[in-house]
Symmetry: C2
Subunit: 199 residues, 2 copies
């Protein structure tokens, strides 16, 4: 006899959709939801709806924000002559934690991956090029993970941007190849940033 | 500058409340919610609310169900003379998977843990005793985990139930199938030895 009631089964299935959450983990989470107070369960559900409805992409850098512009793009203190191009929003947080970078960002929301059918049009390449139209930007830093897709994406963007007479650099490979920006400690990331070289 | 927008921070905090989900895991899940389609995010939120509002404890065995009675208690095929007492709903699923047990269950929703302030009144002991009032139940199987709290809870319940002239048994404890003698702890080995049976 299958013992799981339908609403519970549904919840387990939903939690199971998260990367790195298996059937066992999803089941544990589902039962924890049941043992929550009604208030807490509502808070959780509302947080999900709230984050999804209230957060959208920053008009300029494409990072998530609940305002029209994200704090970085809205700030008057940032150096608008440098744009650091990253794969995902979490990478921006990683750079902000170093407190060493004062330029702007551009979030691609992915990397070129032809095999997975991810081309330039799936990424925010169009928005990036639009930001380079006027002459304010002097340098674009390629800050993708040092992986095959990361390097390929950097090369591709460099080909598009260099002709505009803008300096294109990339992070020094102080990061071990195959590592993920998200987990790099501040110092490593700062060294990689300051040691960036011509592409 | 803290880069996380308020609704995102709130979501990370909510996910972080799950056991075994750390800050990094919660952050990853939160960003995954953001990258979901609006439809999927709503489905997730609704599943949480739905499970919490539509599931309640079975009137008899205290397991979660969306009906008045859970499938086991509602079934006419089950042997009503035996009750298997377990700590949590997941344990019921474990027994059902064996397809060998045909009796009823009773879910305590916890174990006695005086240090954590969990006494009999926090568990469903009252409901269990109520089920033993008439003479239908002939045996109660203590199926808590063989841990300190599990054993203590089993002893406590046995003291209450035996006087009612009902047989109280507990799961055999010994070497798990496929285990190797050399890695078995002393207690397990002692119990396997003392509980040995004819071949």
């Amino acid at each position: 006899m299958d013992y799981t009631a339908a609403p519970l089964e549904k919840l387990i299935e939903e939690f199971g959709k998260f990367q790195g959450v298996g059937r066992k983990g999803a089941t544990r989470m589902a039962y924890q939801v049941l043992s929550m107070s009604d208030k807490d369960a509502t808070a959780l559900a509302d947080a999900i709806r709230g984050a999804h409805t209230r957060l959208h992409r920053c008009r300029i850098c494409q990072n998530y924000t609940d305002a029209d512009l994200c704090p970085v793009c809205a700030s008057a203190k940032r150096d608008t002559s440098v744009i650091c191009v990253v794969e995902k929003p979490r990478d921006v947080q990683a750079f902000e934690r170093t407190r060493e970078y004062n330029g702007l960002y551009h979030v691609l929301h992915g990397l070129l991956d032809p095999l997975a059918g991810v081309g330039a049009e799936q990424l925010t390449v169009k928005e990036l090029l639009a930001r380079l139209k006027d002459d304010t930007v002097k340098e674009v830093i390629m800050a993708m993970n040092p992986t095959v897709e990361g390097e390929a994406t950097a090369m591709y963007l460099a080909k598009l941007i260099k002709p505009l007479g803008i300096r294109v650099t990339r992070l020094a490979s102080g990061l071990p190849v195959g590592a993920s920006l998200e987990y790099a400690d501040e110092t490593t990331l700062y060294r990689a940033l300051s040691g960036r070289g011509e592409l």
